[in-house]
Amino acid sequence: MTNRIQDQVSAFVDDELSTEECRFFVRRLARDVEARSQLIRYATIGAALRGEVFHPDPEILRRRLQGAMDGAQPAEAVPSQLGSRARRNVFKPLAGIAIAASVAVVAIALSRPGNDGGVTDSVALQAQSQLQELELDGLPSYVVPPESAEQRIVSPELRLTNYLVRHGEYASGIGRTVVHSNVMIHTADDADTPADGDPE
């Protein structure tokens, strides 16, 4: 994974791409497996977040998906009934993850070999229909129904980081510094997982 792809995915999720860049990125998703898998990973993390706070701003969702799928000029942002900029900032990345998940589905559908226009249209229509539902809802925000406990997925990088932080509490003084330093430096999501099974 190059830094450029990571940056693009991150910018997309953080709602930092322009409409044009967004369209370009969606096209890239259709042909770039690496970018797609990174985006899906973000979406998976989003799934792990469900059950926590998850109130994406529907206006951002509508704007971004519309811009991404049909090339329409994004509508002027409607002032959120939630009001405060702080609140918007809180939910911005979560909204991005939701968008990422939706667009990833569209991108996968688009890139599937042998896909005909009908299927593509069907996916797009479905997404549009969801957008209309959101608009008809008229609510300032929506809440994704909490998944049942059995459905919850904890991303491996978070869990491994959890293990290390907890483990560090039981290490000796210098050991804890070593463990925490490694948590700080070596991101859990780039933990090396060699395939070989034998230590020697």
């Binding site: 926590e52 900032n89 406990a149 869990r159 483990h167 039981y170 210098i174 070593v178 430096i185 070596h186």
Partner: protein, 325 residues
Amino acid sequence: MTQAEPGPLRSITQTLVAVACLAAADVSAQDAPVWLERMNKAVEQLNYRGTFVHMHAGIAETLHIVHGFDSGRVSERLLSMDGAGREIIRNGNEVKCIFPDKRMVLLEPARELSPLVSSLPSYSEELEPHYEFELIKSVRVLQRMTQVIGITPRDRFRYGYRLWLDEATAMPLKTQMRDENNELIEQILFTDFENLDAVPAEALLATIDTQGFTEFHGSKHSSLPGAEVAWRADIVPGGFQLSAAKRSSLAGSEYPVDHLVYTDGLATVSVFIEDPKAKAEVEDGFSTVGSINAFSLTLDGRKVTAVGEVPRQTVQMIASSLTKH
């Protein structure tokens, strides 16, 4: 020329010299554990701040540390000066890990560190069969005189260390972790260090604005009520003993996780046993995070993961031998 027969005085002198030499060697060997005890107290109980370079696998990262100790309460801020600028803050009973690159905050309960019930490993004779300790020499580091201590493992189940301990405070100004072939694995080197009378409260505050970050909370309790951990490792390397067995919840998971801690007094291995309903998707097999090794497998539908600053075979051995008692 014939050698004169040693007179009684000369014989006594030789005997005294021999005894003195033996005593010096013994004191040297005994002093190393004493230095290590001093070091462990220093890293917990001193007030200090400093900057150190962490080197592993050819990568050097700079971190800043502020550490305070007041009435048995440890506060600490560790800040990565490079990369994403992550931050770990210990504030009494809580450890907060801030990952600005992930827009994520992990909140874990800190282990209670009491000067009366010390969490520090004790350097007893039980370590001797597994490590060789030596007082190597005095050298200057950061314009301070340091005592170099060597710790060499006697088997391949643990790492060795070389420590440069400040003679005044016993703080490790330089630390090297070495494998069984004496190859350098990891090095921590302070580039500046200041011993403080007290740490200003503001020096321990987070510098990263976490507004909008997602927070994951661990269990507020060190052990869930009524929890009894039935799992044990049947095979552990010599000297490793169970030092803690707790059931608690980890940040981001609603199911309890069983946590076993094995230590030989120097190296520590944690084993985490997930609830069968929890989908902690850590891949089976080996993982490494810097110098820390992890090994995961699935036992009776539970994900088991052992982690520690030990060789891969050690985490594999402990995790693989886990059974329910």
